[in-house]
């Protein structure tokens, strides 16, 4: 038995304790159903801000809206002092209608012309991905006859350090160092573009790489100041951790069990069809790397930001002091970490079958599109909310959770999950902490299954997500 017990915040515990309410909701809205906790997002926001204050630096937080489509969260953040990061024209329309004004919005990612045009007309900060995109922005400005200047971040893709040599993966977004230097020269006399600063978004959680990227951004920022530009700060993107699990030992034991089961074919399989979750055995040795992120983290997102600010950059010294000394703001774009404990996905057990190789497969009334973050496995166990008056029977082995598509590879969890008791049709499973990227990032109406409803939960009551009224403290 290898459980992965989730961390459950008290506001979620409270909802789950009312089993009648859960079953009532499932009857009313169908499966799956998503629960959203807007206040949890505000709490996370203020914890990030506390870190900035404790380091006495100016910090700005752009909520990465792509991580969850909830309107309730947007409406609640619109009345806070958060800013928002949008990655498509539709996202921009939604945040505008939720109450964010242009100065509180940043546009990132690949952009088509109508996205850029709408952003320009609202004076949104554009996070520019390439020299060519900058040309397009300038051209569209002229077409629109704009007179006010357009604020931009210039995204970097290349980070060098004389002190550390890191194997670089290829990167498709952003400017090279050379391109960034040319752009500074070009922008120094520009009336069209207001240079906000350099930005980056690392595909890694390595502390060392982040420091190298910060160092590179600061080096270029100083060069920009030298040519007469007045950057406001640096934008270090998101990628802050969130911890999903209660017990570090459970996490390590689970991963060892996956690897051991691959090496020894006599052991029970830990992944569907011995697919290995990214690992495989080659001549008795484990190769490959995990198709899941670290669901257990020994530190939380706020401690991680704290560490970044306390870190020593090889040339510039302690990051917070350098930002203070140069009067620079630190911008961050958290998604997952800001949505920590802000969402739950509920799904109903439809049927249970025994596979050809005698594994138990539990079919849920939801599919992979309802809980999928780019093929990453969800590594925390759902909580069981039993159907009424059901008998309980101790489970003898783990189960696999299948989706409701007619596809052999449609699994909600292709890892084995160990429940204490056997599941029955009608049981509800509650996946904890799905708001960041898992809940609806890839949601679709595949084979005409409906999209899931979202309901927003607040103190003593609830509403449909889009009918949520923001709360004021």
């Amino acid at each position: 038995m290898f459980p992965l017990t989730p961390v459950i915040a008290s506001h979620i515990e409270e909802t789950l304790s009312d089993e009648n309410k859960i079953h009532e909701w499932m009857r009313a809205f169908g499966s799956p159903l998503n629960l959203i906790y807007p206040q949890a997002v505000v709490d996370n926001l203020s914890q990030f801000q506390k870190v900035f204050w404790s380091h006495k630096i100016k910090g700005e937080i752009f909520y990465a809206y792509k991580a969850n489509k909830s309107v309730a969260i947007l409406k609640q953040l619109a009345v806070s002092n958060a800013k928002v990061d949008v990655a498509s024209e539709k996202e921009l329309q939604k945040v505008l209608s939720a109450g964010f004004v242009g100065q509180r919005i940043e546009a990132t990612g690949p952009k088509n012309n109508s996205f850029i045009r709408l952003a320009l007309l609202h004076n949104v900060v554009l996070n520019v991905n390439s020299p060519q995109e900058l040309e397009t922005i300038i051209r569209l400005r002229q077409q629109l006859g704009m007179t006010s200047s357009t604020p931009v971040f210039i995204r970097l893709k290349e980070f060098n350090s004389s002190k550390v040599d890191i194997v670089q993966k290829d990167a498709k977004f952003g400017f090279s160092i050379e391109e960034a230097k040319k752009t500074i020269e070009k922008l120094k006399d520009s009336k069209d573009i207001e240079f906000y600063g350099f930005s980056f978004h690392l595909p890694t959680i390595s502390e060392q790489e982040r420091i190298v990227a910060i160092e590179q951004s600061l080096t270029l920022t100083l060069e920009a100041i030298k040519v007469g530009l007045t950057p406001r700060g640096i934008n270090i993107g998101g990628g802050f951790s969130a911890n999903f699990l209660k017990d570090e030992r459970e996490w390590h034991d689970y991963i060892s069990a996956i690897k051991d089961s691959l090496i020894d074919p006599n052991r029970p399989s830990m992944s569907w069809n011995q697919s290995g979750l990214g690992y495989w055995a080659e001549k008795g040795k484990i190769r490959g790397s995990a198709k899941f992120s670290d669901f257990y983290r020994s530190y939380d997102q706020f401690e991680e930001l704290d560490k970044v600010l306390e870190a020593k950059a090889p040339t510039f010294g302690i990051v917070n002091q350098f930002l203070q000394e140069n009067m620079l703001t630190l911008f961050i774009e958290p998604g997952r970490s800001l949505l920590d404990q802000a969402g739950v996905t509920l799904a109903r057990v439809v049927s249970i079958n025994t596979s050809l190789k005698s594994e138990t497969v539990v079919f849920l009334d939801m599919n992979r599109s309802h809980m999928n973050s780019i093929e990453l496995e969800f590594m925390s166990d759902p909580v069981v909310i039993g159907s009424k008056n059901r008998a309980s029977k101790s489970a003898t082995d783990g189960v696999f959770l299948s989706g409701n598509l007619c596809l052999p590879h449609d699994f909600i969890c292709r890892r084995k999950i160990f429940f204490k008791e056997e599941l029955e049709p009608g049981d509800i499973l509650a996946f904890i902490n799905t708001a960041g990227y898992f809940m609806d990032f890839t949601e679709s109406e595949t084979i005409q299954h409906p999209m899931a409803y979202k309901i927003a939960i607040h103190s003593s009551t609830w509403s449909l997500d889009e009918k949520y009224e923001p709360k004021f403290n």
């Binding site: 790489e209 060892s256 001549k283 040795k285 490959g288 000394e325």
Partner: protein, 432 residues
Amino acid sequence: MLAQSITDLIGNTPLLKIPSHVHGLKNIEVYAKLELFNPWGSVKDRTAWGILKPNLDELNNKIVIESSSGNTAKALQMIANLYGSSLKTITNRIKVPEAKDVLRLIGTQIQELPGKSDCYDPHDPNDPIVYIEQEIAKDPEKYIYSDQYFNDLNRKIHYDTTGKEIVDDLGKVDYFIGGLGTTGSTLGAAQRVKEYNPDLVTVGVVAEKEDYIPGIRNHDETLEVGLFNPDFYSEIVTVNSHDSLEAMMKLIKGAGLLAGPTTGASFLGAIEYLKRIDSTLTETKKAVFIACDRVEWYTSYIRERKPEWLGESPSESWKDKVTIDKQADISINEIIQWIDDNKPLIVDLRQPISFKTAHIPDSINLPYDHLDSMLNTTNPFCTKQKILLVCPLGEKSALVASYLKNRNIDAYNLQGGINAWRDQDLSLERDL
């Protein structure tokens, strides 16, 4: 003893009998194989020599490539230096800063692997071995891949030398204990010892998963090691870094052995295993563990875990006795008038690079770190001149100004620092 080449000094290390009060066992004699006597200080000197010796000709025009975080890299580099070559190590495991410094010093090129991805790309191999193979594939003629985790020469050198020496010195050995990294030294040496005594019990030592012990892997990591043969070990003992350091100190203080944390881990693993069988024995048995290297380059590793052992009590500082003197504060609203009236010497306490980028006109730069150490003994100011101190937020400058005022220096503090100055849009200058 006259050596023709430093490599002649690799191996032939002594065995040291550990006093029984140090290990506490009644019926077992415990011996340390002193691999720290090797010329570059570790058991890995043998591994590196065992792997490179058959390829010395190639060192003329090739460089060695390896994934090593410490001792193997050091030994490979030292040998490569002798033959006009050098080492490139691709790793993400160098967690001991001293090890990194020494490697850089002797000429190793260190390349770090990228961290684990949180923005997941299912098409990215994300496998360290793949990175090394890609690097070699770029220019196959350029590299000798020593491949310590898979190369059987690593095991063989310990079979040929380490194990043989133990048998020559001790004859029959009953228990052999070694930390598992590449697993080459334990496997090779124990195979040789087992030939002499087929009843030999071999114990491997690994680290706890959430922990880090230099040169030793955890359970999952051993599964990736090509040389690792789990069936060879009677038992694999898991130890943590905290207890390993305690065991290391026992060796240092009780046995006169200046052992490092990894040796402490092997010693601890040995005791943990042996104490369970000690009382069941009726005759005296012999156990050997590998003392793989020395303590010196792990001081920062030890400081992280046992700061009290390094017992640095902070010395007295000028800051200890300062009470903030509000009289020293000049508010941002009156600052321009105040400067005009008083013509102070404006002293900016920020780093030079920040000062050059933007500063108050006619100020001078005296970085806080320098002033801080100076103030413990003296100060650079005269009593006749008014001084205005400027820092990022007006905090350090308040401290310095209050201290100086007490010393009869006419010192003042710009409230809110350079940030307040900038927020008022007051003029800044830059030096290019």
